[in-house]
Symmetry: C2
Subunit: 276 residues, 2 copies
């Protein structure tokens, strides 16, 4: 593999803001890697769209990302991973990682009583992607799923530490806790932002699995195995090791990004993604 | 005006499901009129998109509706009315009515203490469309606005009569009630579905203005003035006086429509709206 190739950025995409929690874990855990992020802020959310539509949108994004000369793609969106993983891999022709598999592997490894809960968007739950991925590892694990459609709007409204948010989380988790789960997958990239609330509500006996973190670790393994890891540290004065593109509302995006990322980003460029 | 023209349907469009509350009022108040409805369910919601994007999407929808040989257009979406009314009128070349003006007129006529509240999506509030329309009638009216981004997801989750919904409504209305409003505009087409909850919470002293109803009345006036009203009752056995088109998730759309419309709809056809 040529050095030029290993210095190429990782392409990361999501339906909007949530995937930034995955970008954050890559920045923290793989500080030498460059990132090109695309957030489909014009067409967010994906969680209530059909498979056909999510596949069409994901293919357009992959075509855009490939023009940025990336070396690998991370689908930082549970819905897109659940609905369009195979199509993204076909379109990409470079290594692709989704968020579902790494989260499922960690959950299967963590559970002792074999009762695993998943909260995610309606679309992700309907695909049964987590259930299938966990059963491929251990068919004896009982996977209990719950769609939580209000959690993304609550995060985007900024009500992160709020009594109303707590009540809504508890309503969604009620059934899972009755099943005595010992492991809970935060199956939507927005949910890690509610992690401390969820931790407080489920108590110490339930292990929270954050697929964003597991995905960064899986990316690290994959890059090492394929000789694609960047061994040269990014120069501190390199102007744009992280570049951000969106389909709409660039300013709201950068505000949100700066509230959760370990680095400050100045701009996000708007791309007419429908034309790709 | 030829009889054929007056028998043509009204084109009604919205970002998704909310505009069905406007279609419902047209069905109730103008039973002789045919309707072609388009709901942009692939790209919903419009409430957090930029003006440029909402204009582009609205123009595509108008081009589709015009192929259905409609005689007039109702923009059954507060965000699209606030952001794209002039562009829709330019593209349409037939009479166009939005939801903002009729709601603003009724609010200005209703208020006694000249304190009017508006709740709407973030995008509608940012355009100040209701404030401008009310001030054009009476600049002395004090318009107090509040964005309520969680209300649409709550309606779509079906939590219509729910303690959590009540709490969220109260948090949004708190500031408006402190201003002693005597009139409240439900400035998003989803909100009439929360009308009985809002009524319960604000009490008898506040008059609720439902722009969906006012828009149907304005449509009636406009059709009469321009000689476009349909004078022949639709035959009871006419198969499709109401036709529905969406950009995604047709089944979820018909389920929702059948829960709120006075007639049963069998199907909604999916249209590749990006190609218009």
């Amino acid at each position: 593999m040529s050095p030029a190739k290993s210095e190429a950025p990782i392409g990361v995409f999501d339906s909007g803001l949530g995937g930034l929690t995955v970008a954050r874990e890559i920045m923290r855990n793989l500080p030498k890697e460059r990132i090109v992020y695309f957030g489909d802020t014009a067409r967010v959310p994906y969680g209530n769209k059909s498979k056909t539509t999510v596949i069409r949108y994901s293919r357009q994004i992959v075509r855009f990302l490939k023009q940025q000369e990336i070396k690998a793609i991370v689908i930082a969106c549970n819905t897109a991973t659940s609905m369009a993983f195979d199509e993204v891999r076909e379109e990409a022709e470079i290594p692709v990682i989704g968020v579902v598999e790494p989260g499922a592997v960690m959950a299967a490894r963590t559970t002792v009583n074999k009762q695993v809960g998943v909260i995610a968007t309606r679309a992700t739950i309907q695909t049964k992607a987590y259930t299938k991925a966990i059963h491929a590892i251990d068919p004896e694990i009982n996977v209990i799923s719950q769609a939580g459609p209000l959690l993304v709007p609550l995060v985007e409204e900024g009500w992160l530490h709020d009594r109303i948010t707590d009540e809504i989380i508890m309503r969604y988790l009620d059934d899972l806790l009755e099943h005595d789960i010992d492991t809970l997958i935060l199956g939507c990239t927005h949910y890690p932002l509610l992690r401390s609330e969820i931790r407080k509500l489920v108590g110490d006996k339930v292990t929270l699995v954050n697929p964003a973190y597991e995905t960064a670790k899986e990316l690290e393994r994959m890059l090492a195995e394929s000789g694609l890891e960047n061994e040269k540290a990014v120069e501190p004065d390199e102007p744009y090791p992280y570049r951000f593109f969106v389909s709409d509302e660039a300013e709201r995006f950068t505000d949100f990004a700066n509230s959760i990322l370990p680095v400050d980003i100045k701009t996000a460029r708007i791309i007419p993604i429908e034309e790709y």
